[in-house]
Point group: C2
Chain length 242, copies 2
Amino acid sequence: MRNRENLIPVYYRLAEDIKKIIESGVLKDGDLIPTEAQLCEQYAISRMTVRQGLALLAEAGLIETVRGKGSFVTRPRLNQLVIDLNHNATSKEQIRYTLLGVNLIRNNGEFAEKLGFTGEANVITIKRLMFKGNLPVAIEEKFLRYQKGKPLLETQLEYADFPEVVAKHQESVPVRNDMRIFVAALSAEQANLLAAEGSQPALGIKQLIYSEDDKLLGVATMICHKDRFELKATSYPLSGRL
Amino acid sequence: MRNRENLIPVYYRLAEDIKKIIESGVLKDGDLIPTEAQLCEQYAISRMTVRQGLALLAEAGLIETVRGKGSFVTRPRLNQLVIDLNHNATSKEQIRYTLLGVNLIRNNGEFAEKLGFTGEANVITIKRLMFKGNLPVAIEEKFLRYQKGKPLLETQLEYADFPEVVAKHQESVPVRNDMRIFVAALSAEQANLLAAEGSQPALGIKQLIYSEDDKLLGVATMICHKDRFELKATSYPLSGRL
DNA sequence: GAGTGGTCTAGACCACATA
DNA sequence: ATGTGGTCTAGACCACTCC
């Protein structure tokens, strides 16, 4: 049953066929698609191959399969949106950074505690300014536990994204990133750095990086010029493979 | 080879085992995990079962498989964060809405054009106020093409999320939701509705809903009180099944 | 040529839902 | 009791990578 003239796998064709039927509106939210046995017959393929196709559709959020009942059409989860920080940072215009400072805050339990680092007194801070072209657009501040014998390389400071920096400097493996997005006021110093009026607000982004055992590994904050930066999110990436 | 005493499938156990090895740091970013043949032997299971387990890990972003080479450990994509609008709206405190108005803007091409609705002159607008407890937190405005014979039910206006409202009122199936997040200024009217000072900024969220053929189906904007609303996103949901 | 993952088969038994 | 999806087998051939 393997395709010859066309190189795409059978299970992929099946998934695309059903996807088109759903997106054309013939099958609506809640409808049952043909059973696996029926699809085996229709396409003259074995059941595992059918299931591979349905798995694609389920992953894309187009169907939901229920044991003993069948596979139901579901509206794609458009209320789940993905923010891709890499893409947000590298769109269109040239991005560059200037390093404002790297510090090791030693034996300051209060400082560490305030950030959320429990049982740790030594914290590395990294501060840099992000530019689009020649305009300053955001102030980044990063905080991570100081780990002896794991030096931070300058290239990591300049270019790497934050989870990568954390991964490189920690023994623990970062597995979760929680983000808050909010409106922030600019301090005089921040306004100066961003070449903005002191009275204007900014977009604030705070990231918390955790390990599997929920230990806080790193904190990152971005204060973004309100007219030069905006976050984009989209529902699309999830079904990108179909 | 099916498990007896414990009910969880073999492929799932395999995936969990490898996940633990990765998260413990024994296998690092870029390392090869055992080949499928080796895993077949180790677990004394068939290859399709091994592949089902590896598929779980790949979906969670913990490994990447390359044909002819093997499966490599990858750091989880912590730079891809998911905003769950349903969850953001239904966390902790009681959320309720008051409907401020529903209008049908007829034969106003300029109005439709400005929103991005091409070739359409009739637009439905829905405006409502969101409360947490007794505090107004956000003003929602929604715009969608008017479709004859597809009435909007009041229950839909009050409770449903926007993509659902669009799906119910349109022939076309909504398949993509693009979102922008930004800092907005409050108009006098908006400040009044939110019981806020007129000079203060707000968090703005704009959603654009598209069909498969990239036709704009709906637009939603939220203007959120800066101290009473914040967006949360997390990297975790993707690997939630493991 | 040897080793790897990608696709596919033709069965089997099981758990669950429905009537 | 029947029909559904969930798990699993023991093979097979293919495409690709690397030596």
